[in-house]
C-alpha cells in the first residue's frame, strides 16, 4: 500500500507541477496565482499521502499549515491591485 501512496504523491507532484505552465503563460496575474493555488492544494495532498505512506505523522502538520494558509497569497494579491494605487501610501 505504501508504494501505491508514494506513487500517488509523485503523480500529484507531476500534475500540479504541469500547472506551472499557467504561471509562465499567464496572461493575467489571476491566472498565475491559480497555478500557485493549485500547487498549494497539491502540496497538501502530497504531504498527506507521504505522511500516511511513510507513517510520519509530523508531516501532517505541514499539510495542516499549508491548508490553513491556502488562501493567504490570493488575499494578498487582491489587496495589491493596480486599482488601489493609493493603498498603503497615505503619507
Amino acid at each position: 500500500m505504501a508504494e501505491f501512496l508514494f506513487a500517488a504523491a509523485a503523480i500529484v507532484l507531476v500534475l500540479t507541477g504541469l500547472g506551472l505552465a499557467r504561471m509562465l503563460w499567464g496572461p493575467s496575474p489571476a491566472d498565475r496565482m491559480m497555478a500557485a493555488q493549485l500547487l498549494g492544494t497539491g502540496g497538501g495532498a502530497i504531504a498527506v499521502l507521504v505522511a500516511i505512506a511513510g507513517d510520519m505523522t509530523a508531516v501532517l502538520d505541514i499539510a495542516l499549515t499549508l491548508a490553513l494558509l491556502a488562501a493567504f497569497a490570493a488575499v494578498a494579491l487582491t489587496l495589491g491591485e493596480p486599482g488601489s494605487k493609493r493603498r498603503g501610501g497615505e503619507e
Binding site: 507532484l13 498565475r32 494578498a76 494579491l77
Partner: protein, 311 residues
C-alpha cells in the same frame, strides 16, 4: 522512481526560480517566488527535515508573499522612474552569480565521506534536557544564545521599520491593510479562520518540544491570522506607542534573558536550566517567544506609523 521524483522537483524549482528572475512584471515575479517557497517546503519534506519544511510553509505561505505583494502595490506609482538596473550591471551580477553557483556546486557535489555531523552528539545529550525534538534542543539548549540574539535581531528590525515613520506620525497607527474594495468573502474568511489558526499556532508551539514544530512556525501562523483580521478590516493595526503592545514585543526576549540569568543562581550558569525543570522552562520561554514573534511579524508587515497618534 525516487530519482525521477527528485528530477521533477529540481525541474519545477528551477522553473520557478528562473521565472522569478525573468518575469517582467514585479507581481509576476512575486507569484513565482511564492510558488518557489511552496516547492522548497516539499523539498525539505522529501529530505525529512520536517521542522524546516514547516517553517518554509508558514513563512513562505503566510508572510513573505504578503510583504512582497504589498511592496509591489506601493511601488507601482514609481514604476515610471526608470530605476531599473542597466544592462552592464545585470550582466555583471549574472556572471557573479554563475561563478558563485559553480563554486558551490563543485563543493556540494563532492562531499566528504563520511559526512561529518554533530547529530550523534546532539542525540547523546538530549536526555539531559528532557525534550524529544532534537531541533528544539539545539535551538533552546545547546545554541540558546544564537536563538536569543536572533530574537533581538527581530526587535531591532522592527525598530528599523518604525524608524521610517515621519516625525509627526511617531507613535501613531500604521497604514491600514484593508482591501481597496470591500469583499464579503474576505470578511467571512477573516471571521472563520483565525480561531482555527490560533489553535493550530498554539498546537505547533506546544508540539515543538517533542515533535517538529516550535516557536517560529507557531508564531508565524499566529501573525498570519492577525494580519488576516487586519486585511479584512475587522481591526486596524494598533498604535505603535501603545505600551501594552511594546511589552508583548519584548516579553519573549526578556523572559529568555531572565531565565538565562536565573541560571547563574539556579543551575550551572547563563542559559543552563536546572535539572528536571528544563522542559517546563523551555516551554514557557517558547510560548513567550511565539507571542513576541507573532506580534513583531505582524507589526513589521503593517509597517511604520502612517497617521498621527490619537489625542
Amino acid at each position: 522512481m525516487s530519482l525521477a521524483v527528485d528530477l521533477v522537483m529540481v525541474l519545477l524549482i528551477l522553473t520557478a526560480a528562473v521565472w522569478t528572475i525573468l518575469a517582467r512584471d514585479r507581481r509576476d515575479a512575486v507569484i513565482a517566488f511564492i510558488v518557489l517557497g511552496l516547492l522548497l517546503s516539499l523539498v525539505w519534506m522529501r529530505l525529512l527535515a520536517v521542522d524546516v519544511a514547516l517553517t518554509e510553509a508558514a513563512v513562505g505561505g503566510g508572510a513573505t508573499g504578503l510583504v512582497l505583494l504589498r511592496a509591489c502595490a506601493r511601488l507601482l506609482p514609481v514604476e515610471a522612474d526608470g530605476a531599473l538596473p542597466g544592462l552592464r550591471l545585470q550582466v555583471a551580477v549574472g556572471v557573479l552569480c554563475a561563478v558563485v553557483g559553480a563554486c558551490l556546486a563543485a563543493v556540494i557535489l563532492s562531499p566528504p565521506e563520511p559526512a561529518p555531523s554533530l547529530a550523534p552528539a546532539v542525540a547523546a545529550h538530549m536526555e539531559d534536557v528532557g525534550l524529544k525534538n532534537p531541533v528544539t534542543v539545539v535551538l533552546l539548549a545547546y545554541r540558546a544564545l544564537d536563538t536569543l540574539l536572533e530574537k533581538v535581531v527581530l526587535v531591532l528590525g522592527l525598530i528599523g521599520v518604525w524608524a521610517l515613520a515621519p516625525d509627526l506620525f511617531w507613535g501613531g497607527r500604521p497604514a491600514s491593510l484593508r482591501a481597496a474594495v470591500p469583499s464579503g468573502t474576505l470578511t467571512f474568511l477573516a471571521r472563520v479562520l483565525p480561531p482555527i489558526g490560533v489553535l493550530i499556532g498554539i498546537y505547533l508551539v506546544w508540539n515543538g518540544a517533542d515533535h517538529p514544530g516550535g516557536t517560529f512556525q507557531g508564531g508565524t501562523v499566529l501573525a498570519a491570522m492577525w494580519l488576516l483580521v487586519m486585511m479584512a478590516d475587522l481591526g486596524d493595526p494598533p498604535e505603535t506607542r501603545a505600551l501594552r503592545l511594546r511589552r508583548l514585543v519584548a516579553v519573549g526576549p526578556a523572559l529568555f534573558i531572565a531565565v538565562g540569568l536565573a541560571g547563574f543562581g539556579m543551575a550551572d550558569g547563563f542559559l543552563s536550566y536546572p535539572p528536571g525543570y528544563a522542559k517546563p522552562i523551555i516551554v514557557a520561554v517558547e510560548v513567550a517567544l511565539a507571542l513576541s514573534i507573532a506580534v513583531i511579524l505582524g507589526l513589521m508587515v503593517a509597517g511604520p506609523a502612517a497617521k498621527e497618534p490619537d489625542q
